[in-house]
Each structure stands twice: as C-alpha cells, then as structure tokens.
Symmetry: C2
Subunit: 350 residues, 2 copies
DNA sequence: GATTAGCACTCTCACTCTAAGAGTGCCAAC
DNA sequence: GTTGGCACTCTTAGAGTGAGAGTGCTAATC
C-alpha cells in the first residue's frame, strides 16, 4: 500500500473522527477538525482515491466516509501509535487485579473481569493450554465403593480433579497401589505424551486382578485427558447492547447468539493463536477486524487477543471483542497491561 | 377476588389471546375467537369492570386490553389448568438430560441447558445448599512446600476442594496428622455446625507446633466454609433478544445488565425460596410476576422456580426467567418435568 | 501537475399531514 | 342485564416537503 503522506494523514483522521463521533466523516468537517493546509476540494480528491483503494467507503451517496475493514487494517498496521497507559489508568487496573487468590483459574477469571470493566467491551480468556505441562502428583482417593476422585497436581501450579467410577469391589489399599504406580511412572511426563498405553503400562505390575485394574487405569487416563481440556471465560456480553454500533436489535441478537456458544468462540481463539504462530508473529497481540472474523454476527466487531504465559511452555489467551469502531491504541494497551500484570501474578504459582 | 363466571372466562380469554398474539385484545376479536353467547357490548362492560378491578389495562385509549400483573397473578392462581407434557415433549427432555455424567454439578448444568432449550427462555439453577450435608471425608494433600489441597467428600455425594497456603516448613507427615485429626472429629457433622472453634478443637492434640497448626486449621476451616457457598448457573440470556417483548433495546439492556450480576440473581432466588418456606407454600413451584420481582429491569418478566432435592435435607432451585407474556401452564410443566428428571438422576449420587 | 472555488446533484432525516383502522364509552332501547 | 348504535380517541403507515450535508465534476489558478 503506497500512500503519500497526506493520504495517510487523511485516513488516520477519518478513522479517529469516525471512532470518536460515530458519524460518517465529510471533507469539510475534516478541514475544521484538523489542520490540513489544503482546501476541502483537495481532500475530496484524496478521499476519492482512498475509496478507490478500498480503504474507506460511503454508507450512501451524500454521506461522509467511514473506514472499511481494509482501512482499519491499514490504520492498525501502519498508522496508529500505541501509547502507554497513564499512571492513573495503570493504577485502576492494578487495583482490580486481585492478588490474594490461591488458584490460577480464579486469577484468570479476575483478569477477564478487569478487562471487561476497563474496556467496556466483552472480554474473554482461555484457560492455560496444559498439554506441555507435566504431572507432579497424581492421587486416587476412594470416595465410596464404586467411586473415586483422581487428583492431579501439574507442573504449572494447577490442580485438577475428576470424580470417576471404579469397580465396587476394589478397596482402599488396592486403589492406593494403582495410584502409587501411576504416579511413580508418569511423574514428570508432559500431558500430551501420556496415552492410554502409557497409563496401562504404568499400572502393569500392580497385583490387582486384570479387568478391574484395566477399568481404573482407563478412568485415570480419562481424568488426565480431561485435565488438558480448554475452558473459556467470557464476560460482559451485555455491554455490547449499550454501544450505538449494536443499536439494531438484529445485529445484537446475532452477536450475542454467537457468543453464547462458548465452545465455538474457544475454537476460534485457538485458530487465531495457531495462525499467529505459523506466521511467526512477533507482535504482542493478535487482531482480527470485521469480516476477517469468520464467526457469524461479528462483522461489526474486532477481536483482539494477547498471549499470557503461566510457564515458558504453558500459555493461554486473554482478549477483547469490541466494535470495529474502537480506540485501537487504547484497547491494545489495556489488554497488554492486563496481560503483563497477569503474567507477573502467575509467577506466584509456578 | 369475586368474579362471576363470565368475567373469569373473559380474563382467561384475554390472557390466552394476548399471550398468543402479542396484540392488545379488543371486545370484537374476543367474540370472534371465543364462543361467548353475548354481544361485544356486554363484553365491553365486563372488560370495564375487570379494568376497574385492576386486572387488565389499556396501553392507550383506543387499543384493546392487556393483562396487568395482577391479572396474570389471578390467571396463574385461579384460572389456568396445568396440563401434563405430551409423551413426545417428555421424550424430548429425557433425551437431553445426560445421565452419564459423574458429578452433580455437571448434571445440574445439563438440566439448566435443557430447560433453556425447551422453554426458549433464560434458565437458571442454583447449586445445592450444602449447609445440612455432612462431612464424609476430609483430606489435606501437600502440593508443594507452602501449598496444600483440601479435599472434602460430602454426604450428598458432592466433592469439593480448595487450594490453600500453609506454612512452608510443614512436611507431609505433619499435614497428614492434622488432616486425620480433623477428619476423625468432624466426620458426620453438618457443615453449618462446623465453626472455627470446632475445627480448632478437632486439631488440638496433634503434636504440631502451635502457630503453624493454627494456620492450617484456619485454612481447613476456610475450605469447609467455601464448600457451602452457593453458585448459580444462568443460561440463554441471548434468547431474550429474540422475543418481541424485548424489542426495545433499552429494556433488553436493562434486563441483560441485571442478569449479568449473577450474585444478585442468586440472592433473589434464595429470597424467593425463603419466602415460600415461611408461607408453607406447598405448590411444586414458585412464581413472581412483573413488578413483584424486585430486581431492576425485570418488570416485563416472570420468574418461575422449583426446588430439586439432592437428599432430604439438601436442595437447590431450578427455574426460568421469561417474558410475563408466556404460556404459563406449559412452562410450569416443563420446569416441573425437568425437576422430576433431575431428582431421579440425583438418586445415583447419594 | 497539484490545488482550488464553484456549483449542480443526490440522498437522508426530521417534520407535517392525512386517512384508515381499531377500539372504546356511553346512551337509549329492549 | 343485555344490546345496537354512534361519536370520539388514538395509533400507525404512507406521502410529501424542505433543510442540510456531502459529493463529483469542471474550469481556473498556482
């Protein structure tokens, strides 16, 4: 995209004005609001050119221009400058991040909440991808005949558990043996290297009768697999209803309908993460604008995420879904700052 | 409320027609749609009377009538007849209730989901009130120096845990001793009879140095208290946006805004439950209509809940928030049937 | 070649006006 | 107590209008 300097400034100004006023921007009001040292006719020529390039568009013939998805993309990639949050804003966020919680999950939920409150948009976070974390402890506790609890402590400081069914006849001692054997053989192994075969061979030399043993091992395996399932936390969906961008009930309905399927949103966040890795993206954030988002009903939204790290190899995402018409530089710094604080807090757990 | 038979029929018909058409009901259309053997002028007199009694109202001078909150209340209390679901509808619900889950929480979430899908409204469930359930097991597992996991098995078949901080110097053996002592003394005690004093006296004769011991006991106590905290599961908020009753964005915003504060909703459900108990209500459901609901933004809603039982003394609520203008008899049977299925499934856990 | 002033043209938006339609309340008669 | 009749009220949809904002084009100017 080769744009001369003035055209860049014009696009920049159009995005800024449109974001702040939510009105299509005309050549005259551009002149009024900014100090271009040319006439409105000249800007009209520039604007025609920008429209020709697909960076801005008109809602109708006699309206001003609004940025297209491509225009926002250009703005985000090349034009905007990201400013640090003011100390005051930073303090506001720091106050909200609760550093007294004892579980990583609570910390993440807390950060999600903070992000929704500060941006005023929908915020979301994925639970950490635990595939690369390894087992530090695994205990099977008898709850009652036929039922046991598998408790796992993972290297990333995360505790997971799952209630499982076991054969009725098994006693405490037998369960302890199996539990001990699994722990002994699998401690230190990353979750994604643990398969049903690994678990079965770990329990091999326990003197528990074969079919019973096998069932317990299977359940233990299922518990381990469940531990690395991804969760997503979404918050602040209702905030979208207060934005003029979603004053049409239809759009709002489509948007909230899509967001209610949290599994789908989680899948999309993963897709973004993977795409960024493949591209070797070195930005601290990922961004998708308007139609770039393949989820239904998010055409008028932008989706911004960042990656937090629990350990070097265990990470997750945190981000925001807001209207396309947002103050990108501000929102990006907010996400970035929350992520930074989250990373700091997470050191306590590992 | 003494109404002669025809007036009752008129109110019944107005509610029915308004619920199905979402249009104010006029005297003429009442005659057309129902076989009253009188003229529209007579109905107009009856309607004037019903309006005088505050049971129906006019949106404006020349519109038909719509039921008032009081009218709906009369309808629900005295006029409607609740019909059983058809076998087909029952099957639909049975298919959705997943009987393979191993944890009570999952079962409840599943029932909530089912209820939202079948009614098309917002559904909600409260976690069981565990105050009256008693401790069956309590184990403290060392996770790493300074950190432990308190695992509790409760009489109602529920497993709870909490990560807690403990003094760094404590070793596995000391923790086991404390854990054993607590379990020995508190097993069988209902949660609401366990106080900090009880826990402290339970751990008294452990030979662990005083200040360290005290901290662990306090954390164990905190874990027990956290176990009986109430959770609420809300689902299907976005469905309200598809209803004509919330086609005004303002109303929709207020409603979803209120629902986003799940703690507040949970408090309200508790209040309903307590009020019903005090009144010795023997209905299988509780219902609040329009302004009877003290939550902001729910003026156009009705709130219906039922009580499920995990054990004789451990119960929770499940219900629906929908528009006032709903098919009460149908929705009530749906809630009732889901509750019944839920109760049946819960027997597996206790 | 870039910039500008001027102007005709287009489209939206807010307003007003109007007629149709639905429903009511009341009165006098049955 | 019930009914037919009728004047009255209020909403809604549609049509028409003028103001306002903005554009694109042309011809002149720097």
């Amino acid at each position: 995209m080769q744009l001369d300097n003035r055209k860049k400034e014009v696009l920049h100004a159009i995005v800024d004005d449109y974001v702040s006023t939510n009105e299509p921007v005309g050549s005259k009001s551009l002149i009024e609001r900014h100090s271009f040292n040319v006439s409105s006719a000249t800007l009209r020529n520039d604007m025609a050119e920008l429209e020709h390039l697909g960076l801005i568009e008109k809602p109708h013939t006699s309206a001003g221009r609004i940025p297209s998805d491509k225009g926002y993309r250009e703005y985000v990639n090349s034009l905007m400058t990201i400013e640090e949050l003011t100390p005051r804003e930073q303090l506001e966020i720091e106050k909200r991040i609760d550093s007294s919680v004892d579980e990583v999950t609570d910390l993440i939920k807390n950060a999600t909440h903070t992000l929704s409150e500060t941006t005023g948009f929908v915020s979301l976070a994925m639970s950490p991808r635990l595939k690369k974390s390894f087992l530090k402890q695994l205990k099977i506790l008898m709850i009652e005949p036929g039922k046991a609890l598998v408790v796992m402590v993972l290297s990333a400081g995360v505790v997971k558990d799952k209630v499982v069914r076991i054969p009725n006849f098994l006693n405490d001692e037998q369960i302890m043996k199996i539990s001990g054997a699994i722990e002994k053989h699998l401690t230190g192994k990353p979750l994604d290297e643990i398969t049903l075969v690994t678990v079965e061979s770990a329990g091999k030399n326990t003197d528990v009768p074969e079919p019973l043993l096998k069932q317990v091992l299977y359940e233990a395996y299922a518990a381990i697999k469940q531990a690395d399932e991804l969760n997503i936390y979404l918050e602040g969906e209702h905030r979208m209803l207060s934005l003029p961008d979603f004053s049409s009930l239809g759009r709002a309905r489509d948007l909230l309908g899509t967001l209610s399927d949290s599994g789908m949103v989680a899948g999309y966040v993963n897709e973004m993460e993977n795409a960024a890795r493949e591209l070797g993206n070195d930005d601290s954030y990922m961004i998708r604008i308007g139609q770039e988002i393949t989820l239904e009903g998010l055409d008028d939204c932008s989706f911004i995420t960042a990656t937090y790290n629990l350990t070097d190899s265990v990470s997750g995402n945190i981000g925001v879904i807001g209207p396309k018409r947002m103050l990108y530089s501000k929102v990006i710094s907010q996400i970035d700052f929350v992520k930074k604080k989250l990373n700091e807090e997470m050191k306590r757990f590992t």
